[in-house]
Amino acid sequence: MNRRGARGFTALEAVLAASILSCVGLVMGDVFTRANRLAEYARQGERAVALAQNVLEQYNAVALRQSAQLADLDRTRVRPREFFGTPDDLGYAGLSLTTQAKPDDDLSLTRVHVRVSWGGALFGSSIELTKFYPHTMSGHFEPAK
C-alpha cells in the first residue's frame, strides 16, 4: 500500500476518476438547466395568462360596444404595446401576442384565440386561451342562405 502511494495513480485510475467527475458534472448541469427552464416557465406563464386575459378584455370591450369587428383585432407576433396602442408594454416586456377571431358558422359563434409566446424559437414557450362570442356580438353577420 505504501509502495502504491509512493507510486501515485495509474493512468487508468485518473481517466476513470475524470470520467466519473464529468458524468456527475453533466447530470448536475442538466438538472440546473431543467430547473432554470421550469422556473422561467412558471414566471413567464403567470405573466402570459394575465396578458392574455387583458387581451380578451379588449375583445370584450369591442364585442360589447360593437365598435368594430372582432377580426379587426387580429395580430401576428406583436408586442403588447402594438396590440394595446400604449407607449410601453404595460409590464409585459418579452412577451409577444398572436390573436385571431375566426367565425364558426355551424355554431353561430366567433372563436377568439389568443396565443402569448416568449423566448426564442429553440427554447421558447407559449400559452393559449380561447373564448367564444355570439355572432351578434362579434360584428360578424351570417351570410344569407
Binding site: N36, A42, G45, E46, A50, L64, G91
Partner: protein
C-alpha cells in the same frame, strides 16, 4: 535526484502562468453553474410574487365585473383613486330575492414612510388590505385609468418589496354597458 533538484529551484514562471490560466478558465466555466441555484430561486420568487399580486387584484376585477352599470363616475376618476361604485348583490339560495346593491371603494393610502402605500377594499365592514408596498400613483403612471372610447378601466400597480425588483402588474377590465 531529479525531483529534488526541481524542488530546490521552485516553480517556474511558465508553470505559474499555466496554472493561473487553467485555474481562471476553470473558474470562468464553473462560476455560472455556481450562480445557477440563486438565479433559479430568484425566478421562482418572482413567479410567486407575480401570482400573489395577480390574485390580490382578482377581488377588484371581480367587483368591477359585478359593477352596477353607471355607478362609477368615469367623468371624474382621479389617477390615485378612490374607485367607488355599486356592486350587484349575490344570491345563494334559489328563489331568494337579491338584496339591494352595495357600495364598494378601492382606496390607496400612503404609508408613514411616504414612499409606498397600500390599496384597501372598503365596504360597510372593516377595510381589507388588497396589496401593501405599492408605489405612489403619478399622473404619468396612474394607478387607475379609464379609456372612454372602449370603456376599459386599467389598474396599474407598481409593487415594491424589500430586496426585490419593482414588480409591475397591469390588469384591464371592460366595464358593462
Amino acid at each position: 535526484m531529479g525531483i529534488l533538484s526541481r524542488r530546490n529551484s521552485g516553480i517556474s514562471i511558465i508553470e505559474v502562468v499555466l496554472f493561473g490560466s487553467l485555474a481562471a478558465g476553470l473558474f470562468l466555466w464553473i462560476a455560472p453553474w455556481i450562480a445557477k441555484p440563486t438565479i433559479i430561486q430568484q425566478k421562482l420568487l418572482a413567479a410567486l410574487d407575480e401570482r400573489k399580486a395577480l390574485r390580490a387584484t382578482d377581488a377588484l376585477i371581480n367587483d368591477l365585473k359585478r359593477m352596477m352599470p353607471g355607478s362609477l363616475n368615469t367623468e371624474f376618476l382621479p389617477h390615485e383613486g378612490p374607485l367607488t361604485f355599486l356592486i350587484s348583490a349575490e344570491t345563494t339560495e334559489m328563489g331568494e330575492l337579491p338584496s339591494a346593491p352595495s357600495g364598494v371603494s378601492y382606496v390607496y393610502q400612503l404609508a408613514k414612510s411616504g414612499e409606498t402605500g397600500a390599496l384597501y377594499r372598503v365596504t360597510t365592514t372593516t377595510p381589507a388590505v388588497i396589496l401593501d408596498g405599492l408605489l405612489v400613483s403619478e399622473p404619468t403612471s396612474p394607478l387607475f385609468h379609464y379609456d372612454p372610447e372602449l370603456k376599459i378601466v386599467t389598474i396599474d400597480l407598481r409593487w415594491k418589496q424589500p430586496e426585490r425588483p419593482i414588480l409591475r402588474v397591469v390588469r384591464r377590465v371592460s366595464l358593462p354597458n
